[in-house]
């Protein structure tokens, strides 16, 4: 899968591979022995956040689980 930042795809794939392994082998087993992917994540984030700014993607000030208000049934 490609990244929204054309130059970030390789960094993304490298990070994803690391994450998927950690997620399955450590996190889901509630092994809290630390995340081996932090450096890769930093590099990837640096690249993708830059691309997001360049493309003006409106992600700023969107709260986590953002618009999670109760809505009436129609």
């Amino acid at each position: 899968m490609n990244s929204v930042g054309e130059g970030c795809t390789d960094l993304k794939r490298e990070y994803d591979q690391c994450f998927n392994r950690w997620f399955a082998e450590k996190f889901l087993k509630e092994d809290r022995s630390g995340d081996p992917c932090t450096e890769m994540f930093k590099k990837y984030q640096h690249c993708v956040q830059k691309a997001i700014k360049e493309k003006d993607i409106p992600i700023d000030s969107v709260e986590f689980m953002g618009p999670n208000k109760e809505k009436p049934d129609s």
Binding site: M1, N2, S3, V4, G5, C8, K12, Y15, D16, F19, N20, F23, A24, F27, L28, K29, E30, R32, D35, F41, Y44, Q45, V48, Q49, I52, I57, P58, I59, V62, F64, M65, G66, P67, N68, K71, P72, D73, S74
Partner: protein, 211 residues
Amino acid sequence: MVKYFACVGLLKSSWDQVCIAFWERYPNPYSNHVLTEDIIFREVTPGNRLVSRRLLTKTNRAPRWMEKYLPVTMARHAYIIEDSIVDPQNRTMTTLTWNISHARMMSVEERCEYRINPDNTSWTEINREAWISSNLYGLSRAIQEFGLARFKTSVTKTMKGFEYVLAKMQGEIPSRTLAEHATERARETALAAKERAKDLASQAHKKQQYV
């Protein structure tokens, strides 16, 4: 005015496998409309929950009758955010997905809860809710109908995508005819919904007043 939709889905795989598949679901044969995928935030909370934010770019598949009302400069690609919380202790995952572009025209918000199926603990149950709304004067009902119909088709694709990825993970090769059948059924549903939405749009257009 908001259109509400809820359904329950079942995946015949363990909650663990489904969560793993959740991060590996793109690309799959049912996700050709998904162009890019990025994790743009991730953290493990002190309570050992994984919180993540994923940014997706999708093609903006508006029907032709709707495109007439879109400004020429409107982006062809839609941006979607998906926030998620994975709780390995309680074996639950909650996701919230919504579009951050084209939102005034149509806003679709989906909330899912992934839990162990109470009747069969080696299966996973997905409780899905969606809220579809539109603020476009005179067309909101037609757009909401379109949005709801497209959402239902999306759900079919999502579940098929999951099943495909899970089968791949478990070393089975999914049958080609299954995939073709699903695509065909999704197409038929979309076509029927398209016709209905088109009718509503032309009715709305006749009543529309020009400001």
